[in-house]
Every structure is written in structure tokens, then in C-alpha cells.
């Protein structure tokens, strides 16, 4: 979707401000929101791409005004509601209408092992690559209303396949219908001038990880 989350190349955002000796969390509630997101993921009611898409759907003005963990809180509420773990009335009143005893509740003794699990975006499926390193490619000029990992600034642009990462879940469908649609993911190099015009440095480039379904041969 052409949302404000797709920020690459936007102007007017101001300087990059670095905080010296920054703490991991700036307040208790930020830490709780971070932990709640991970703990709730143990129920496996949604995948990481659905999670990203929840935050992308925060209305643009709110998205820009919200702090990072406000977005994660808002996104988590959406995921819990849309996937049936809480009801709208429960969210509104804060009181449980029903209780569960799910075996999938993350327990303290399981945390270390849970964080070390490789959540496999990389798949074992045998799918032939459509491209090889060195191939010239043209990215699709698509504007889907759903989730996509092809940023606007890299659409309809010519690049070169630098590296084949192997077969991965395709996030664009995984976020919308849970269809993994296994296919190759590549690191694609774009000359800075191809993306930003003659004002950009002739030496520089941007590398974007893209999938077979984003690319056509040149």
C-alpha cells in the first residue's frame, strides 16, 4: 500500500537526531509493549508480515505523530482483534468476557528458547530461480492496496541482481492471505542515479531485497 510508512526518499522529515547513551527503553510501558508483542506472537495467530501490515494501516496522520512503541501498541490491538483473541468490547472496557487456558501461552522458563527459534522465512521448497547474479531486471510498477516489500522509490526501475539469497516466503501474499508463495529473494542493486536522477552521486547505489514476483527481465 502507498502508505506513509513507505518513507524512502521523502523530504521535510528534518535532521537525524542521535541521543547519547540512549536506554533500551525510555519508559516501563515501552518495555511492556515490546514484550507483549513477542509474548502474543507465541499463539501463532498471525505472522510477521501481518504484523508489519497492521502498523502500516495506522491512519497516516496518526502514524507520523505516534512514537515507535505507540505504533506497536496500536498494531497489536489490531492483530488481537482481527484474529479473534480479544473482542472490541473487551478492548474498550478492559474487562475479559471469556477466559482461555491456551497451551501456547509463553512461560518465563520458555523465553530464552523461544527467542532462539529460527522462525523460518527461508524455505526448503525447490523452486527454480528466475534470475541469476549479473542479470538486469526491471521492477514492477505496481501499486497494490495490500502489503508489499517493494518500496515506491524502487518501482519501475532498472537494477542488477547481485546475489540470490535462496527461496523465501513472499511477504506480499503472506501478509494478506497467509499464502507463502515460495520464491527466490535477491539482493538487487540500483544505481543512485536510476532512483534519484542526475543530481545523485554517480558512484553510489542502493541495494533492495526483492522477490521473483517483483521483477521482470530487461
Amino acid at each position: 500500500m502507498n502508505g506513509v510508512h513507505d518513507m524512502g526518499g521523502m523530504h521535510g522529515m528534518g535532521p537525524v537526531e542521535v541521543e547519547k547513551n540512549e536506554p533500551v527503553f525510555h519508559s516501563d510501558w515501552e518495555a511492556r509493549v515490546h514484550a507483549l508483542n513477542i509474548a502474543c506472537s507465541s499463539h501463532r495467530k498471525w505472522n510477521i508480515d501481518m504484523g508489519r501490515h497492521s502498523r502500516e494501516r495506522i491512519p497516516p496522520a496518526e502514524y507520523l505523530a505516534a512514537t515507535y512503541y505507540e505504533k506497536w501498541l496500536r498494531g497489536l490491538e489490531m492483530l488481537l482483534l482481527e484474529n479473534g483473541l480479544v473482542t472490541a468490547k473487551e478492548l474498550e472496557t478492559g474487562r475479559a468476557e471469556s477466559k482461555t487456558s491456551e497451551a501456547s501461552v509463553l512461560r518465563p522458563s520458555e523465553v530464552t528458547a523461544y527467542l532462539r527459534v529460527r522462525r523460518l522465512a527461508r524455505l526448503d521448497d525447490e523452486v527454480a530461480p528466475k534470475f541469476r547474479p549479473g542479470d538486469r531486471v526491471l521492477t514492477h510498477n505496481d501499486h497494490p492496496i495490500g502489503h508489499t516489500r517493494l518500496p515506491r522509490y524502487a518501482r519501475g526501475r532498472r537494477g542488477t541482481v547481485e546475489r540470490d539469497h535462496g527461496v523465501f516466503i513472499f511477504p506480499d501474499t503472506h501478509a494478506m492471505t497467509r499464502d507463502r508463495k515460495p520464491q527466490h529473494c535477491y539482493s538487487v542493486r540500483f544505481a543512485a542515479r536510476e532512483l534519484w536522477g542526475p543530481g545523485a552521486s554517480a558512484r553510489d547505489s542502493v541495494y533492495v531485497d526483492l522477490w521473483d514476483d517483483h521483477l521482470d527481465p530487461v
Partner: protein, 213 residues
């Protein structure tokens, strides 16, 4: 300093006031999920402790220092970063598939996530606010040299800048150049001077004045 011009006035009194805004909403959500039996609050404590004390850029610094002193490790790291980093036990969430980018005198690598906040948690911990902020996400791809200059890094025009936008489940770690003047240093001494920002690619590793010999 009088009380009213204390710069942290608001923050210091945060705990004296009733919760409001997101703090209240987060508390309400946690209470609801605990009451429903969906979340164990002790697991939240454990998760927070992990990210506050067990992961962070010191992990990544050990990888870089090893690569600087051990050419065979460097080769493994550049060929298959996931496996080479797992030798240290740094694996799991948001580091499932790793790629290491080598800086050279002619090439500088810079990592960003323009669409969200992808970052290699097992080796760098959780990202700083600036990395997740609109200015960095917007500008790193269109004006990397301007961003680096603001952060104190003037990249010569003869040096190539490569920006890596983390759009897939691949996480990038920059292998910075080893600074001159560190010949003969131990791996532990080298790890001490490797910074988070150098491993994101927005800074170079420098020898601190106090460490100069």
C-alpha cells in the same frame, strides 16, 4: 540549578502522576490479556530483562573483533554470516538470516529499513530511536552522504557509498575497517572500540584518545 529550569523536570515526576495516554492504554491491554489467560506477566519480565541486559551491540563487537584478528573467521563470516555468527551463539529472532557487508578504503556500507524498523537484534540489540525515525528512514536512501555528514562522517567523493534497505528477512551487519594504530591489540581490546553506529555503517571505528599508545 533551580527546580523549574531542570531539563528532566517532567520525566522525574512521571511516577508521581497517574498514568495517561499510551502508558495507560498499555497497562489496560496487559491487564486484559493476563485476565484472559493469554499472557503470563512473568514472561514479559523475562523478555524485558533479555533485551535490556543480554543482547546488544557488545555481541556484534565481538564478531567484528574476531574478524579483524582471524583471517579464516573473516572469510567464513563474509561467505556465510549466519553460520559464522552462530559460532558465538548469537542466533534467533530478527537474526535468522544474516549478511555481513565489508567496508574497504573504497566502499562504505550503510544499513536502513525504509519500510519499518528491521535490525539484527541478536548482534546489535534493539535499534536506537534515530534508526527507526522518519528522518533516517526517509533520507538514508536518497541522501546517504548528507546523513553521514550530519553524523560527523564526511565521505570523500572517491569512496563509493552502498545503502542496504532491509526489505526481506535478511539482517545486515557492517564489518567496519580496523583503524590504524591498533596493531598488536588483543581481540578483547579491539571489541571495546567497536561501536553500534559503526556496525550500522553510519560511523567508522576510531581509536579513543585514552587508548592511544
Amino acid at each position: 540549578m533551580s527546580d523549574h529550569d531542570h531539563p528532566h523536570h517532567e520525566e522525574e515526576h512521571e511516577h508521581d502522576r497517574p498514568l495517561s495516554g499510551p502508558a495507560l492504554r498499555a497497562k489496560a491491554l496487559e491487564s486484559l490479556l493476563v485476565e484472559k489467560g493469554l499472557v503470563d506477566p512473568k514472561a514479559l519480565d523475562e523478555l524485558i530483562d533479555t533485551y535490556e541486559t543480554k543482547v546488544g551491540p557488545r555481541n556484534g563487537a565481538r564478531i567484528v573483533a574476531r574478524a579483524w584478528v582471524d583471517p579464516a573467521y573473516r572469510k567464513r563470516l563474509l561467505a556465510d554470516a549466519t553460520t559464522a555468527i552462530a559460532e558465538f551463539g548469537f542466533i534467533g529472532r530478527q537474526g535468522e538470516d544474516m549478511v555481513v557487508l565489508e567496508n574497504t578504503p573504497k566502499v562504505r556500507n550503510v544499513v536502513v529499513c525504509t519500510l519499518c524498523s528491521c535490525y539484527p537484534w541478536p548482534v546489535l540489540g534493539l535499534p536506537p530511536v534515530w534508526y527507526k525515525s522518519a528522518p533516517y528512514r526517509a533520507r538514508a536512501v536518497i541522501d546517504p552522504r548528507g546523513v553521514l555528514k550530519e553524523l560527523g562522517e564526511d565521505v570523500p567523493s572517491g569512496v563509493e557509498v552502498r545503502v542496504w534497505d532491509s526489505t526481506a528477512e535478511l539482517r545486515y551487519l557492517v564489518l567496519p575497517e580496523r583503524p590504524a594504530g591498533t596493531e598488536g591489540w588483543s581481540e578483547d581490546e579491539l571489541a571495546e572500540i567497536v561501536t553500534r553506529d559503526a556496525m550500522i555503517g553510519v560511523a567508522q571505528v576510531k581509536v579513543p584518545e585514552r587508548s592511544k599508545r
